[in-house]
């Protein structure tokens, strides 16, 4: 094989890695913000499934992938409100409520998805070559010959990082996650802030799911997210609750996904079960290593993570 052929394969592989990473990037950023205000939402997998499902159906019915994407995003957001109501208003156990949301998403999409199984989508996002930027050798064709949703995720990661660290909104939301009582004393409405960012987390999980079925794997299967929601939750720790570091994590894991498909497509002798295990195994190792580093560096999760807040009790 010629050198240019190799380059083409690498470009294709990494370009797919960005797409696979985008599926993880949205929910990871969403969960970072939910956790930053103290709400642990283990329902990411369920919300992604719901987003993937509504994204798929609306795209299939309208042949408009953008409408489908919006539907998936909203569906994820609506699903997150169940968790928000239970953990914020009713002060229920966030771990159990989140798990219930994941079971709910799986049950809901299995039940209503029955008649859509193995159906395909004819419409998808089209790649949009960015002028000038896409002319950068190699990196240009990997990063800037993508679809609008991928560009949206670049902007989102940066904007959310900016909001978190450089604006009053960010200061307030971090205050809620670090010390809810003090935040309340500062005049911040803790309940409202928690609702908003839990909802944002749901919207983003929906976005990841919708991008999966519309932009990456344009068909419907039971449990099509295949644990990506859990990988996103792990990536939150990997990213140490920082939206920009989430980009690194998401693309790293996107690369593993892309590599795994590439290897399977080229007919490798490595058993497919081992290849399929790879993302989970690597996430597992990464999360152990990150946790050790986090502990050594004294970085820690938001102090109020998982703790219900009540204004009446002092």
């Amino acid at each position: 094989m010629s050198a240019s052929h190799h380059t083409t394969i690498v470009i294709l592989l990494l370009s797919n890695a960005i797409k696979a990473g985008t599926i993880l990037l949205f929910p990871t950023i969403g969960e970072i913000f939910a956790e930053r205000v103290g709400i642990l939402n283990l329902g990411v997998e369920g919300m992604m499934l719901i987003g993937a499902f509504f994204g798929f159906i609306v795209t299939r019915l309208t042949n408009n992938p953008y409408l489908g994407f919006i539907a998936g995003v909203l569906a994820g957001g609506i699903a997150s409100l169940i968790h928000a109501f239970i953990s914020i208003t009713l002060r229920g156990n966030q771990i159990v409520s989140g798990l219930a949301l994941t079971i709910f998403g799986a049950g809901f999409t299995t039940f209503y998805g029955q008649r859509w199984i193995n159906m395909n989508l004819n419409a998808s996002f089209e790649n949009l070559k960015l002028p000038i930027l896409s002319n950068i050798p190699v990196a240009g064709s990997i990063l800037f010959n993508q679809d609008i949703i991928v560009y949206l995720s670049y902007i989102l990661a940066f904007v959310m990082w900016f909001i978190l660290y450089k604006t009053m909104i960010g200061i307030n939301l971090r205050a809620v996650g670090e010390n809810a009582k003090a935040a309340n004393a500062m005049g911040i409405n803790v309940y409202r802030v928690r609702y908003i960012w839990t909802f944002f987390g749901g919207l983003m999980a929906g976005a990841g799911g919708a991008y999966l079925t519309i932009g990456y794997a344009p068909f419907w299967l039971d449990g099509i997210t295949a644990g990506r929601g859990w990988i996103a939750i792990a990536l939150v720790i990997f990213a140490m609750w920082d939206p920009l570091k989430a980009v690194v994590g998401a693309y790293l894991f996107g690369s593993i996904n892309a590599l795994q498909f590439q290897l399977q497509a080229t007919g490798t002798t490595i058993p497919s079960a081992i290849l399929n295990m790879l993302p989970y195994l690597v996430t597992f190792i990464a999360i152990v290593l990150t946790s050790i580093i986090v502990k050594a560096k004294h970085i820690r999760p938001p102090k109020e993570l998982g703790i219900p807040y009540s204004r009446e009790e002092k």
């Binding site: 156990n93 409520s97 720790i237 597992f284």
Partner: protein, 352 residues
């Protein structure tokens, strides 16, 4: 404005009412979901009920499904009581099934039944325990979040099983299907009641519930588990070795999930395959929660959810209603019960 006012003491009446009402809410929302797809929910529920409790055979199948739920839930109660979130029963169950199947597949055929079953039992317990102790050690020594590690280990266990079933453990005579060799009769748990699939595993399950009840109520270890659950910091100052207790409790919990996996392959399926109902691992979390982490109530809830699972499988075949309905009902019941906990300690008040 509506607000919550603290109760003087926990309402005992509500403790009974909440799980019952939660289940009813689950069933009502399930009915709504069924109506939307244009099927008569009454007919579906009637069929589900008949297939779960309507005859001795139907009930025996409910008990078959309840057996792994009891085993896994008993272990989960122990770890949940100390505030350790083992979400990995799914993977521990698979590992138990793999370890025990090793003996059934590879031991020479002449091995006596008692020896074979003992080896398989031990294999199941050890396989499950290993898979639970890994995240426990990571948690105790490096504060690695156990929710995430136990969950990721579920997927890893699933792919280990798939690797074995599509590769080295596949039966060459299975026409390409991912199945192991059938187990010899020496590797099959004895059936307890004729014409049913209820096997010795049910006895294991009942014993495990009693043992867990005994551990929690009557032993020093159980006392420490409860203290840690109330406040780990206090426990540490009281001289309790929190880390050691976490590892032991997780080992017990994993071992019970592993035994459940062993019971399923040895008592029900009689070979190893990819689909071994490992989802019991997730259902058990709901069962544990709906039982208020009480071993006696876990017996009742396991039978109830066993009926839901077993009836759910039947209506999928007889009425073509997707099995997803079971997950819908279970999750909505779980939402209700988690959301309703607040009413145990608080009253709803109205202030102008």
């Amino acid at each position: 404005m509506i607000y919550f006012e603290k109760r003087e003491n926990i309402s005992a009446k509500l403790k009974v009412v909440i799980p019952v009402v939660s289940l009813i809410i689950g069933i009502l929302f399930g009915a709504l979901a069924i109506v939307v797809v244009g099927i008569n929910p009454y007919a579906v529920y009637k069929s589900l009920f008949v297939n779960a409790f309507g005859s001795w055979y139907a009930f025996s199948e409910t008990l078959v499904a309840a057996t792994p739920l009891m085993l896994i839930t008993a272990g989960l109660i122990l770890v949940f009581k100390m505030g350790i979130w083992n979400i990995g029963a799914y993977g521990q169950y698979i590992m138990g099934a793999i370890f025990s199947s090793y003996f059934a597949i590879f031991m020479p055929p002449g091995v006596s039944k008692p020896l074979m079953l003992t080896l398989m039992f031990a294999g199941g317990a050890i396989g499950g325990a290993i898979w639970a102790v890994i995240p426990a050690i990571l948690k105790v020594f490096w504060e690695v979040n156990e929710v995430i590690t136990t969950l990721l280990l579920n997927y890893i266990a699933l792919y280990v099983l798939k690797f074995l079933m599509y590769g080295p453990w596949k039966n060459p005579k299975s026409f390409g299907f991912p199945l192991s060799k059938p187990f010899p009769s020496s590797a099959q748990l004895p059936v307890l009641f004729e014409h049913t699939r209820i096997n010795l595993g049910l006895a294991f399950a009942l014993i495990s519930i009693i043992v867990i009840w005994f551990i929690i109520k009557k032993t020093n270890f159980g006392y420490e588990v409860r203290v840690i659950g109330n406040n780990p910091t206090t426990a540490k100052y009281a001289g309790i070795s929190v880390g050691k207790n976490i590892i032991i409790a997780m080992a017990i919990s994993g071992a019970l999930a592993g035994i459940a996996g062993m019971v399923q392959v040895s008592g029900i399926i009689h070979f190893l395959q990819v689909k071994i109902n490992a989802n019991y691992g997730y259902t058990s979390i709901i069962v544990a929660w709906i039982s208020y982490l009480n071993p006696a109530l876990c017996l009742l809830s396991s039978i109830l959810f066993g009926g839901l699972e077993s009836g759910g499988y039947s209506i999928q075949i007889s009425m073509r209603v997707s099995y997803g309905i079971v997950g819908l009902i279970e999750s909505i019941a779980l939402f209700s019960i988690v959301g309703a906990q607040i009413f145990l300690n608080y009253k709803l008040r109205w202030k102008k």
